[in-house]
Symmetry: C2
Subunit: 485 residues, 2 copies
């Protein structure tokens, strides 16, 4: 018998190495010197926003504080274009603030701070030499969900087994588009393992906490991104969404998130959490996270104008169209709640006050409650599509390292689908069910001449870790995938 | 023992009734009185074009002959808009000419001549009353492939068992769009049973013959349409295409046919030959048959401008875009032939002379032979998608009546897929194979900056009945489904 502690299991050693390597890439001078009384544990009720306010200037200069605090991406790009600030200044400020955010809520998976500052230098030199910015995103640091491949940088997306993969040898198509427009890539952000949960937790980099209150979830699967943006460690980030992953973190953290129609933002070059080639009609889609609606539009317009169909054969050849502001009152479909997930008072107040404000400004609210297909049944069908894989590839990725299952994995499976296996025959039935759902919504939209639909993102605001559960409100958009252009 | 001939089997009685009922709807005065020496059998080498030239004026007045002979749809619409001719005159002329065409090549499945003339009267009255045409297609008779549902009219699409179905209670979405623009619907046209062959033959209405030479195929599956248009019994017709069905009849008969990108022309309200809800990514699409390229554009523009996404939830919300004529030489990919189906001399001459003419007018020809994935393998994959149905619904439709299989069904199956049954696992593999094909073509198009690709429709001109076989050249477009807008 020996007194030595038993060595860490192999998977845990790999994780520890990864975390150490991440830590080693962050300049220690960019970390806050916090009072020992500041509890940054996942059960803490501390607000990282408050901690940042109180301690942030230990690391950030006055200019860096103001630069990171006071602008959205569009505003920052204007400062950069007018050369009121250099790309190096902006990049350095956001690298530092991202380092702080990571210290507070554990939101980063990869840092490329040194490369980012080098890139920013080149951009400044380009501007100096040519008198013009490189592109529409000249000098803007953009953060990326861990799924986005960046040449030479790992894309573990929370699987310990993926730490054994060689880093990608090329960038995701979107990354190349952003770089061509002058953006600076400086970090990647945390995700839930499998990407199919609303808690960004995994055995590689651990759990991202909610900046508003650490004991709450930061949402997922673009949760690291949501927390980083909320703490203004980023002005604009790229996420993905197959059931709400770009919108749930927006709700949980209190930022702006957008899920566009599929096949418009190039998806090639992302590391997939599951099996590719699925016959499911529900496709993942890339969407931005940011601080203003105009920033989300900036992201979408920049991508569409880049002719993404030239780099991704799945993209539709549909140019960006500028639509004139409406000159008539709009008609909003209003789905207040689904009976299977009644709203908490805070969420209900959000819904009713939004409707009231629209009515007060002359727009029409068309009540949809009771007139649309059950969101619960819709979600159930969506999950059947998501689980249509006889080889259960995500489970294989988990088993490959021997890592244990994180508890949140239990919260977003559907007990009634335990043991369910798809058949080709059932795929036909599922497709017909989906068509019926899409048709039912389509008919209401046409009959009521709806311009848009308002519905909850979730039944409440951010919840405690590992309790978010099934996301019936957000997955509706993925199921319908309305093809407005 | 009795001398009486054994009665017809039940299925044959139903077919005979259907044919009699069709015959009874055609005014006998609209039939040609042909010399007994004119052989209209399917082994005859007679040209129906010649017969029509020789005998047509027995039925058609001088004005009717000229009206049906001298214009394309765009030209006819101009005459109608200028009131140089009435909708009744035009409709009557085309009803008569369609009746003759049917007598010669057996191209019709349904006639609505009386209803059409009534409709034309209403259109003339509308014009008289309002001083304006009803829409862009005011007074134009448009023929429809049998698949298009017309309220109260059968959609047997060649299945004897479908003769027992109640007629549809509503129009296909496209039919409503055409009617809203002032078109006149006056007949439906013959198809191959199952719609998956290039010979328009079935046990309901029999076989459509090629107007140029009766012993040759009229193509399929929009073959009745192709023959009717060729004989100028129609100026513009609507077909469908999942492997070449809108283009093969254009080749075989010598007219213009177009297969657009999927999800732009509303497909709801067509009678399906097989099982709906397929997980196959290869979707059927509606395309026009006509006498000029400008007529095909007229069809597409009219449909796109009708906001078809309001009537069909599967349509993309992509408005028609007018593209300025190019001011630079164009770059044409040129796939002369696939080694698995070498071109006959006539087809080869067509390809080389097209390429030469383009080069002579300053455009670039980029040879693709040997640089693209095998069309044979591409077709094989397409057929796996087409046969992805564990219930084999087309076979059920055939068995339901006891009708015998038409011989052509043997020619477009792939022996190596006999007994093949899809699995969900294989669907993943098939989707990956398809993505690889689409990606390979995409990369060539981008790298060579191709504006368009020219390739054969088939290895020869029209062939003898029941010998067309596998359509490797046309199915490529369905597999790739290039999403230009």
């Amino acid at each position: 018998m020996t007194n030595r502690a038993s060595p860490l299991p192999n998977w845990a050693q790999k994780s520890a190495q990864k975390r150490d390597s991440l830590k080693a890439k962050i300049n220690p001078a960019w970390l806050l010197d916090l009072s020992p009384t500041v509890d940054l544990s996942e059960s803490s009720t501390v607000s990282a926003m408050d901690v940042l306010q109180q301690y942030g200037r230990q690391v950030l200069s006055k200019q860096e504080w103001e630069l990171t605090e006071e602008h959205d991406a569009t505003g920052m790009l204007q400062l950069l274009a007018e050369r009121k600030v250099s790309a190096v200044e902006v990049t350095t400020a956001f690298c530092k603030r991202a380092a702080i955010a990571n210290q507070l809520v554990n939101c980063l998976t990869e840092v490329m701070f040194d490369e980012a500052v080098e890139r920013a230098k080149e951009l400044d030199e380009h501007f100096e030499r040519t008198g013009k910015p490189l592109g529409r995103l000249h000098g803007l640091p953009i953060s990326l969900k861990d799924s986005f491949n960046v040449k030479g940088v790992q894309s573990a997306i929370g699987y310990v087994s993926f730490l054994d993969h060689e880093p990608p040898t090329s960038n995701a198509a979107l990354v190349d588009i952003l770089l061509a427009e002058g953006a600076v890539v400086y970090c990647k952000t945390n995700v839930p393992v499998t990407l199919m949960m609303a808690d960004s937790v995994n055995n590689v980099t651990g759990r991202t906490l909610n900046p508003n209150k650490l004991s709450l979830t930061a949402g997922g699967s673009t949760g690291g991104e949501g927390a980083l943006v909320k703490l203004r460690g980023s002005l604009l980030g790229a996420g993905t969404d197959i059931a709400g992953s770009a919108r749930i973190p927006a709700l949980c953290n209190g930022i702006y998130g957008f899920r566009p129609t599929t096949l418009r933002v190039p998806f090639v070059g992302l590391t997939a959490p599951g099996r590719v080639g699925s016959p499911s009609p529900i496709l993942p889609v890339i969407g931005p996270e940011g601080h203003s609606v105009r920033d989300l539009e900036l992201f979408m317009r920049t991508v569409a104008d880049s002719e993404p169909w030239k780099v991704d054969h799945t993209c539709v050849t549909v140019p960006w169209r500028t639509v004139a502001p409406p000159t008539r009152p709009l008609r909003f479909g209003y789905l207040k709640e689904d009976p299977s997930r009644p709203l908490h008072p805070t969420a209900l107040r959000g819904m009713t006050s939004a409707a009231r404000k629209l009515e007060d400004t002359g727009h029409a609210i068309v009540e949809l409650d009771g007139r649309v297909p059950s969101l619960w049944e819709t979600s159930r069908l969506a999950w059947k599509f998501f689980e249509t894989d006889p080889q259960h590839v995500p489970a294989q990725h988990l088993r490959a390292s021997g890592e244990p299952l994180v508890p949140a994995l239990e919260t977003t499976t559907l007990p009634e689908l335990q043991g369910w296996e798809p058949s080709v025959d059932e795929l036909f039935e599922m497709n017909l069910q989906r068509q019926a759902l899409v048709g039912a919504w389509h008919d209401i939209v046409v009959a009521e001449r709806l311009d848009a639909i308002i519905l909850p993102t979730y039944q409440s605001t951010a919840v405690r870790h590992d309790t978010y559960g099934f996301m019936i409100y957000t997955v509706l958009a993925n199921m319908l995938d309305v093809r407005s252009s």
